[in-house]
Subunit: 150 residues, 2 copies
Amino acid sequence: MITFRRAQASDLPDIVAMLADDPLGAGREDASLPLAQGYVDAFNAIDADPNQLLAVAVEGGEVIGTLQVTFVAGLSRKGAWRGQIEAVRVAGHRRSGGIGRKMIEWAIDECRARGCGLVQLTTDRSRTDAHRFYESLGFTGSHLGYKKTL
Amino acid sequence: MITFRRAQASDLPDIVAMLADDPLGAGREDASLPLAQGYVDAFNAIDADPNQLLAVAVEGGEVIGTLQVTFVAGLSRKGAWRGQIEAVRVAGHRRSGGIGRKMIEWAIDECRARGCGLVQLTTDRSRTDAHRFYESLGFTGSHLGYKKTL
């Protein structure tokens, strides 16, 4: 029985551990405790923002997945709200069990409940498994995603 | 002399006209006056959100460009803020004059001033001119952008 809920501060070590346990995240994150202040500050900023939903998937009291949805107001498409999904991770020992699919379906439902006309996300071009996964969930890879580090 | 500033409600008809005057926007937007309530509601939501910056480029009192920056708090990359740029448009009669470049450079500066570690955007795969443009501004097309209409 997997449930989904808004993340609490006490979930933060588990969430950061999942971000770090990933081929791309390994070089970018630091899951050592106590967590770097940047993570705590970011959690507080997310938690205080009514247009942010940082969520966890929980089973038997264990955090087994995470994702973040940002609700973005925009003028395009006659003023449609968008839900943007980022930072999707499933705990290493629980991957390939359909949890990711349940998480994204839950996130899409949250976007629908908030009146979004569109759900969007980007995924690294090297994550070919993720491409098939999102296409199977009805997403279209219509865009290129550009990033610039500051 | 081009200046950039936060958009005001009185700029809304000019902004929507630019969104509609575009090969992809033409079928999605409605610039007829009075503007559809969805645009007004979206403007008010954007304007009330401290993590949103809807901006216009102005020259000689005329609105000649627009873009939107969403400042997104996130845990990834040790809690780095991201600036996300969307809905970039230059008025039809002013395209190819370097205004888009000035606008994006201004937006990047705004992201830097807000302490963002990353600037990101997506652009339709069919906009090949845009791909060259963003690459020339130092962006890397490392991601695929997926969308799902609700």
